[in-house]
Symmetry: C2
Subunit: 338 residues, 2 copies
């Protein structure tokens, strides 16, 4: 071989090996890839998800959706984390009242704080949504954004769910973690769209779900820019800014995301408008509800429940093409292994 | 060579070539990479940007910032696109009044609509912020979210800036496009944080700046979820929801992004609170203002201007370590080549 021939041979060899290397890496990752939805049992829910994702990512298919428009929105309470027997954020607010009580002597005589401090939950319950809002506002305002994020994050990491003996930040559903990963691996952007407080969830959504703070939509209090001791801060005010629930969910989606989701996942009648809005767009769409049917591994509740009421959505699911995910039947595991 | 030796040799060769291939690709891209800030002249602004990005991305340096916290926020009017001699969105509103006039016979006798339709801009101006808000609300509400996005996007693509003879969507600053790309290439997330309407900007931010709709923060009107002719839609209401300007900018950042930016770029006194909030965080930060000093290639205006007033920020820049970007001196080109 002369020099040119050697160079050519060397180049051919180089490209061949590079090609093989790339091909091998590609093949390996496909051949050895575990089932992306390993905790989803075979059944109509798993099938609907796989078919939907395959359809919208097939460049040559009629249902193809460009990556920028692959928006998936998930409710949080009861859809990504446990909400039963009481919404996590309400428990947080109740515990904060006890912690803050020494600084609020007036609570000893003011309802519903008095009842809460005395453990009289019947009176707290009787104070209704108005009483609950007072408790939430009193415990979620008056501090800076940074202070509240620290409090909420610490509490979610340090407080255990009584039934599952794991911190709230880990009382989250393994099949949904797999679904979020699977969607992102297929070019989706994943968002939380929850009735819960945006600032309550954000401190842990990245570590829990792989969802960054800016992809979390939720209810909020008014905040104010102030300079405190020479330091510019945001102070949380005792006033509701926005309730991101029911018909508020599509509004929150418009405000925060701009685009219309092509997949939405909820678990209660409060998610119906989000699912309707999602399904109402052009092209192929997927709307799903978690149905809590598993009294043993988690909880069983639906139509008559005081949290996560799932009633009208159950009735309307079949007619609207909504997928009802039966926790007991469809989920092989409920929580991540510890 | 026996079989094992051949296998070993083959494997070594395989890995060696693969390594060379990867190394070659890496080296090529570094060796041939053009200056990422090609339209920025040598000078203090360019130097400050390069030093800042190098510092916060150096894993072994004291100023290192994890990618998740590399948040950069940019004002839009006068910072990313032209705002002179009149904010683009105000021009859009004025033109919409003329288009919509046939459907609003009452405007013939109602100020400031009457004056606007008669071309009496002095009276329009005298109606002040209140009059302007009436015009904006009348032209930005009453339609669905999808309809408004179509109108705004079409107008921005089809309407020419009178001085630059290019559509508004291209009356954007080349050095800033390079900076946005450079930041993203260094793991930053780039956001728009503008006093302008969130729904007015979003239809074009991806094509103009590579910024997706969910990374745009702006002022908004109230919207409502409705079902119209069996179709779920969001309807824009004639009521201001939020003004994302001045002290509203840090609030908008908290609400939409959650985290505190480490770099913020504005051009007027209305951006001071955003820059203060950014600079007030822990660790290394960078705050910048475009100073419009280029009457020939763009416009020259600052302290006395009716749009994009830059006055207090100029006075306070040196003491606060804010970088003033002198358009005439610091920018080699102003607009993208067409």
């Amino acid at each position: 071989m002369n020099l040119d021939q050697r160079r050519t041979k060397s180049l051919v060899s180089f490209f061949l090996h590079t090609f093989i290397a790339i091909f091998a890496i590609g093949t390996c990752s496909i051949a050895t890839a575990a089932d992306p939805l390993a905790s989803w049992n075979e059944g109509p829910a798993r099938k609907a998800i796989l078919e939907f994702v395959t359809a919208v990512t097939d460049k040559n298919g009629k249902d193809y959706v460009a990556p920028a428009e692959r928006i998936a929105t998930f409710d949080n309470d009861g859809t990504l984390w446990v909400e039963y027997p009481m919404y996590t954020q309400v428990l947080f607010a109740f515990e904060r009242v006890k912690e803050l009580a020494p600084q609020h002597p007036e609570w000893k005589t003011k309802q519903p704080f008095k009842a809460l401090l005395e453990g009289d939950m019947k009176t707290v319950g009787a104070s209704g949504m108005k009483g609950l809002m007072e408790i939430v506002l009193a415990t979620h305002s008056g501090m800076t954004a940074t202070e509240f994020a620290q409090e909420a994050g610490d509490w979610l990491r340090d407080t255990q769910h009584p039934k599952f003996k794991r911190p709230y930040v880990e009382a989250i559903y393994q099949p949904q973690l797999e679904l979020l990963d699977y969607l992102r691996a297929n070019g989706f952007k994943t968002f939380i769209v929850s009735g819960g407080g945006i600032a309550f969830m954000r401190p842990i959504t990245q570590e829990a779900y792989g969802i960054p703070p800016e992809q979390v939509v939720g209810s909020s209090v008014v905040s104010e820019f102030q300079v405190k001791d020479g330091k510019p801060v945001l102070v949380r005010m005792p006033k509701i800014d926005f309730i991101n629930d029911k018909a508020g969910k599509p509004v929150g989606i418009y405000e925060h995301i701009g685009g219309q989701p092509i997949l939405a996942f909820g678990n209660s009648d409060s998610d119906m408008q989000m699912i309707e809005y999602t399904m109402g767009g052009e092209g192929r769409r997927l709307g799903l509800f978690v149905h809590h049917t598993d009294a043993e591994r988690e909880f069983a509740y639906d139509r008559k429940s005081h949290v996560g009421t799932l009633d009208k959505a159950l009735d309307q699911a079949a007619a609207n093409g909504w997928v009802i995910v039966d926790m007991k039947k469809d989920w092989k595991a409920v929580f991540p292994a510890r």
